[in-house]
Subunit: 333 residues, 2 copies
């Protein structure tokens, strides 16, 4: 009999999700009933949004319950099947959580091709983060050729793709990232026009220098002081795309509000939130276009793959909040 | 020879514009050259935005210079003219500032009818504040029949009109105002469905009670803690119309940012600023529609007229920031 090791939420974190908020459990791997299949998890997605799912209270999806397996997107392989749409051996993307094996009836599960792209890419550029970048930049941000675009979290899974999409659309793109190495990657490997290291140097002065004609679109993944510093530089009718606020998710006393928000009034600008799930009926067209960009080399996919098995999930999540990843952070099980 | 008493900005205020930031000067009233005319000021407009004009630095219009006559909208009567478009005796609306007499070449000046409406109305409901309410609610807010709308500063010049316009369009309208008397006026005289006194009682609980199906449009005149309290109650695809932030204009240490801004993401909502000047080419259609609403009684115009002459300008401006006015605050010269 095969064991299934699982990472469960034991209590709600205050601040960073330290080891004591998790419980590692082991139970027998499941068996499929008629219409079901079992997948063996190969890669687990690590996402900033996970921190929000761990909190109680209303959000865009219900919180993970205490005692439940932690919600996570995964790539897995079907190892036992009584559902002909998901035959044994097939690779699938699912949201079956931080565990080694999972039972599924196929709802919300997609079969993916191991030949078309490395499997982990389906959690990143050809997965939720890529889709988030795509709809955030094009649908909410409405970027147009010739505009100046700023992306924070530029080395991260979503930011790295969002900035490249703006480049493909003919924009001048300035990244913001933490650290010299990340900034170098963003410019030299991902093709951004510039990248500002918010940890060293004067971000405000850097933005003035790199965006002398002001900022048409700001794609914000980090919130906090970076958002506040960018706001006064918005151009007339500029768009701030609220994608995330990773700098704030572990703040115990509530978020810091952007005190420069009245720049939106002066500049007739808007700040708008979105949730990628709302675009589910357009995932297909987006993935097709992005696969084309990957194939012709105009889009680079970056991943940080951590080896270590499912028990490494809690520590790997902390790496995300320390900003140690370039591109999508995934855990290999 | 006639004297012209003027209120000039002597220094930039920190916090509230106290008496010492002003200088009262007297000079001979001007004489018109060819193409010019002289108006005698009858009413001076008092506006929250004036506080911003007194600060140094970039905004949607340049600041008032030190030593200059304070910028203000006025209604006046032409008393001497060498411009046939503005004959002696005509009443006009102009932005000639806080002074008893002004010289004009007619640029940006409109002739108005003393028979069609009380003259002071042209500074309020049929002036910039009415236009601000109109375009903010309809163009930025995009209100639709059946929606729930919240308006802060509901007893003020802009808020009182904004809420009534939403009522005309078939919305449920909840005002927020400071004090029991103002709230009573807002409901009983202006026809709002409810009004919450932010000074007494629990605003959050009040909003939950009065807007159980959440808030589709929030028209914000005050900013600060009120904005922050409203944000979590926004409905899916809600719109926050940034019209002003009167609670913050005299804050010496910079504005307070809305720490609940990520409600925009969760609710796929947007927060958008606007400046009424951008709609100049549509003023005519808006004023015509609002004059119709005034005539048929669906729109009530409220004014607080202070008698006292031009020297009372500094003290009257402070009344605005103390929230002592209902409707448009004007000074009779």
């Amino acid at each position: 009999m095969t064991n299934n090791t699982q990472v469960r939420l034991a209590r709600r974190p205050h601040g960073l999700p330290t080891d004591d908020v998790w419980e590692i459990t082991t139970e027998p791997a499941p068996e499929p009933a008629e219409g079901e299949f079992v997948l063996r998890t190969e890669y687990v997605s690590l996402d900033p949004a996970m921190r929000g799912w761990m909190n109680e209270g209303r959000s865009y999806i219900p919180p993970v319950g205490i005692g439940e397996v932690m919600r996570a997107g995964v790539v897995g392989q079907v190892v036992a099947s009584r559902n002909e749409q998901f035959p044994e051996g097939a690779h699938v993307v699912a949201t079956t959580g931080a565990q080694e094996y999972a039972l599924s009836d196929g709802k919300g599960v997609q079969v993916v091709s191991a030949d078309a792209a490395p499997l982990s890419t389906y959690l990143g550029t050809l997965g939720m983060t890529g889709l988030t970048a795509y709809f955030g930049m094009l649908d909410v941000g409405q970027v147009k050729a010739g505009e100046t675009v700023v992306v924070s979290g530029a080395a991260g899974a979503t930011g790295s793709v969002a900035g490249q999409i703006a480049k493909i659309k003919g924009c001048r793109v300035i990244g913001i990232a933490g650290g010299e190495d990340k900034c170098r990657t963003v410019v030299e490997e991902l093709g951004f026009d510039a990248c500002l290291d918010y940890k060293s140097g004067d971000l405000k002065a850097g933005l003035r220098r790199e965006a002398p004609d002001r900022i048409n679109v700001y794609f914000d993944n980090v919130g906090g002081e970076v958002l506040n510093t960018v706001l006064p530089g918005m151009a007339m009718r500029g768009r701030v795309v609220l994608c995330g606020a990773i700098s704030q998710y572990n703040a115990d006393g509530g978020l810091t509000g952007p005190s420069n928000y009245m720049s939106l009034l002066v500049n007739r600008a808007r700040m708008e939130g979105f949730v990628v799930f709302d675009y589910a009926d357009r995932y297909g067209e987006a993935l097709q276009e992005m696969a084309g960009w990957l194939a012709d080399g105009s889009l680079q996919s970056r991943e940080t793959v951590v080896e270590g098995g499912i028990r490494a999930f809690p520590q790997t999540l902390l790496r995300l909040f320390r900003g140690e990843n370039v591109g999508k952070l995934v855990l290999k099980v």
